[in-house]
């Protein structure tokens, strides 16, 4: 695909927007039944983000395969970031009362990493909508952003905050991405063998 700006069908939009809207609505409303609205809004929005990241990260390696796959990746990547912004708002401005409070509460390493994640991921989402072509620098930038986002989510859900639900989400994310990577390797291998065969003839 020379141009990365493709027409998104209403079905593609519906299939990605509806889960996003439902998950965020639930993440904001379900805490009404809990003891601590703000804490659970912070937790549930990161769960929603993780769920939306599973298709986004799994489709990333195949985004060149077809327009439809690209569109689904693009939409899930975008909506998962919007979901993350809800989490970011509650974590930084409600729980920690601002950037200074976040650094004080989380420590420089974790807070700094989170701010870097937010900035880099956001930049990539913006670029994905603004930059029509896909030059090499953007491919490398996106690969880096994707790897960074995956690493942070996998480490956070599996190691740093391993509650049963976050662990399940983290495992699902990791397995889905690993499977996706394995399939991508197999497909790429098959393609290069086929290409070699064609060249041999």
């Amino acid at each position: 695909m020379n141009s990365r700006h493709t027409r998104i069908s209403f079905t593609e939009f519906t299939n990605t927007y509806v889960p996003f809207a439902l998950l965020i609505a639930l993440a904001l409303l379900v805490p009404e039944t809990t003891q601590n609205l703000d804490r659970y809004r912070t937790i549930f929005t990161i769960w929603a983000t993780t769920i939306l990241l599973i298709p986004a990260l799994s489709l990333y390696l195949f985004s060149d395969a077809s327009v439809a796959v690209y569109n689904y990746w693009h939409l899930f990547w975008t909506f998962s970031y919007v979901a993350f912004l809800f989490h970011f708002y509650w974590a930084v401005f409600v729980i920690f009362k601002g950037v200074h409070g976040t650094f004080a509460g989380q420590g420089n390493l974790i807070a700094g990493t989170n701010f870097l994640l937010t900035a880099w991921w956001g930049t990539d989402v913006v670029l994905s909508w603004l930059v029509a072509s896909c030059p090499t620098w953007l491919r490398w930038e996106r690969a880096g952003a994707t790897l960074f986002v995956f690493s942070i989510f996998a480490i956070t859900t599996l190691v740093l905050r391993p509650t049963p639900i976050t662990k399940a989400l983290g495992l699902t994310l990791t397995i889905a991405v690993a499977l996706s990577f394995a399939i991508w390797l197999i497909v790429r291998e098959s393609s290069s063998v086929a290409s070699e065969l064609r060249n041999t003839r």
């Binding site: 079905t11 519906t14 927007y17 809207a21 439902l22 965020i24 609505a25 409303l29 003891q35 609205l37």
Partner: protein, 528 residues
Amino acid sequence: MFQIVLVTAVSLLLAFAVALPILERSWMTADEHLDPKDAFFRGSIGTELIPLPVLQVLPDLFPEDFGSGDSWIDRFGFLRSSDPSELPVGFTVSHHRPQSGAPSPVPFVGFSCVLCHSTRIRDTGNQAEPIVPGPGNSSLNLFAWIDSLQKAIGDERLTVKKISDTYMQKTGRQPLTLSQRVMIGLWLRGFRKTLAEGFSKYDEPFGGDLSLTPECVPTGPDRTQPFRTIVRRVLDRPGTSMSVYTKVGTVYQEQLREWSQFDGSIRDLNARSALAAFAAGATVDNLAIPEIAGNVRQASEYTRTLRGPTYAQVFPERPLDAEKVRRGKAIYMGTGPYASVGVNGKQVKLTCDACHGHPENGVWIAGELQGAVVPWEQIKTDPERVTYRYYDRIPDRLAAFFPAKHPFEFKREDLRPGPTGSTKGYINAPIDSAFTRVPYFHNATVLTLAELINLKPRRAILYRGRNSYDPVDVGLSSPDSPDATHYFRLDTSLKGNSNKGHDYPWPYGSPNWNKQQLEDLLEYLKTL
């Protein structure tokens, strides 16, 4: 078409979900930074319990549990506010939901510190009589009120519609808004669910007149079961078999006390206030809300220097006999048995002053043994408070219950029993404004100072309720048989109710017992 409907529907849901938190912030007034006195008198400390409209109509809907009209205020011993249109003293209104402290469109009623820690010494029924902050409310039967409240709220006849209709009828105000009705409905459902989940552990509330009987709700006026809530919430145990009845403590001059509570089990002033709020229904979550945390801290500050009135201020018509006071002081400072104390077994004369200290030029001078915890076997007062089943387990669990960085996270060494002491007994505390600290003993089983110092024999059966003040024997009077005002029969032979022990300076009727000297001592005690 289906997709358009679906996208529209979830968009509306999303818009509502996003708008709700914004709307919620508009339900709260801006954080009020109350000064220490205001925080003590009217600050929310996270104990929100019931929506204001429900509190207002409940007595009308369930007169069998609350009595007619506003008689529930006297029935359960609350203090009427000087303004009859106001809620009783210590009822505070906020827009915090119970437990979570989240914003609410309907105001909720909770308790401020002054609900339990204030009284009218001369309780003549005249609301103009001044309220004295600090001592426990000697007439308040809070546990009976809560029992009746639970019974009424659990009654399926109580519906949001009935609440709304009665509220309109009674107050003549606008009907409740949709959001207020929704919130009341959510609260009602949640309250009943929690109540029903507890039936198998704690049994059903009694309600009616039964909630005022010692057989059903044995706590009675001016007493709490301080560990019941804590055992239930921290250990998840029923806590129903504990006969631990404790007087609502007096909170004068907390700066004089390194360790507080009757058993000297909590050190940090803010921690003791936070734990008191926790025992009264606040949660770890809502105690972390800045406004509530601020109120608890400010109210603590108020108690740091709060002083009680003098006998002469309250009873100016009863001048003290200076000569008797002089002789009484000599007994206070110098009379008492010798005993070996501490690990070294040092011989110390157990005078009143040695254990409690005395005032000098407006300053409280600590006694030699003030602040020491006396083993219950030595002082021989009721042991239930320090020997109940979970006494040793609570501090560890409690310290872990408040997470790191919580505003009231406290050190394990600030709780006893533990690394800083494990004596099971009662702490020697200052007794400034002694005449207002009625009734006496940690379990509120001695009504007067005359009985406390064994000038008079201690009554075995007390009738409690709204007991008037007895300025002669210095304490509360009690009739010989129950009546409408003195409804609660406190039998001191029952477990947890013993009024034995602390036989200083002499046991009643013992060979050294001297009536004249004890009368002098009583006169001096009036000056503290």
